[in-house]
């Protein structure tokens, strides 16, 4: 496997880790917000949410560190232009569009839900933030994932 393929696989792993850890971190925070709003204080459930929050936050920090290390590796290999070729740019635009569509759909659902239940602006903003960060990260990882087999 050449250096470019190795860097592509590394980028896929970092993006997946970043997306999943952000969902875990902010999803757990959202869960705690919802539990507090509903005056729900079941100890085991709250403990699980708090542990998820801590694990997610630590994993997110780790993902950001890995992203910095990855960027240094790309610079060292002089592979910036190859790794950001026109397919990458198209995939990035598509991933951003998926995130935007997810946020619009989320906003519409929150608006519809607001007619039946009351929730704080923080809950709504956090939900949109999760959609706006998680969807593009995972979409970008999936779209730029290197196929295993090479056609001869």
């Amino acid at each position: 496997m050449d250096e470019i393929s190795r860097l592509q696989r590394r980028r896929y792993k970092v993006l997946m880790l970043a997306g999943i850890s952000f969902l875990l971190w902010q999803g757990a925070t959202l869960g705690i917000d919802l539990a507090e709003a509903a005056a729900w204080s079941e100890p085991v459930g709250m403990f699980a949410l708090q542990m998820s929050l801590i694990a997610g936050a630590v994993a997110w920090a780790g993902a950001m560190l890995l992203l910095l290390i990855y960027q240094r590796a790309v610079k060292r290999a002089g592979a910036c232009s190859v790794l950001q070729d026109e397919l990458f740019l198209q995939n990035r635009a598509r991933a951003t569009m998926y995130g935007f569509a997810g946020m619009i759909a989320g906003a519409a659902l929150l608006l519809a839900a607001a007619t039946f239940i009351e929730f704080s602006a923080v809950i709504a903003i956090r939900t949109l933030l999760i959609l706006g960060v998680f969807i593009p990260l995972i979409a970008m990882a999936r779209l730029s994932h290197e196929p295993d087999e090479e056609a001869a």
């Binding site: 050449d2 393929s5 232009s81 026109e86 090479e150 001869a152």
Partner: protein, 73 residues
């Protein structure tokens, strides 16, 4: 009704030159996935990339890329 899409003979020309996808990608300055998706008609390359591919394969753009009929499914 049929629609015209961009077809290509990239795989044939690449094989003629004895290049793998990775070797062609390295010569053109893109990733192997880009070459793979162009060959499989998943990704439509820019004019610049099409010209680079043709030049690397020592042929003309028209030899590599052409308009093809896409029958309705």
């Amino acid at each position: 009704m049929s629609a015209l899409v961009l077809g290509n003979r990239l795989k044939e020309h690449r094989a003629r030159c004895g290049l793998t996808q990775a070797q062609l990608a390295a010569q053109v300055g893109v990733t192997r996935k880009t070459i793979n998706t162009v060959e499989n008609r998943v990704f439509t390359p820019s004019t610049l990339l099409a010209l680079k591919l043709a030049k690397t394969l020592d042929t003309s753009v028209e030899e590599v890329f052409f308009l093809a009929d896409q029958s309705p499914e």
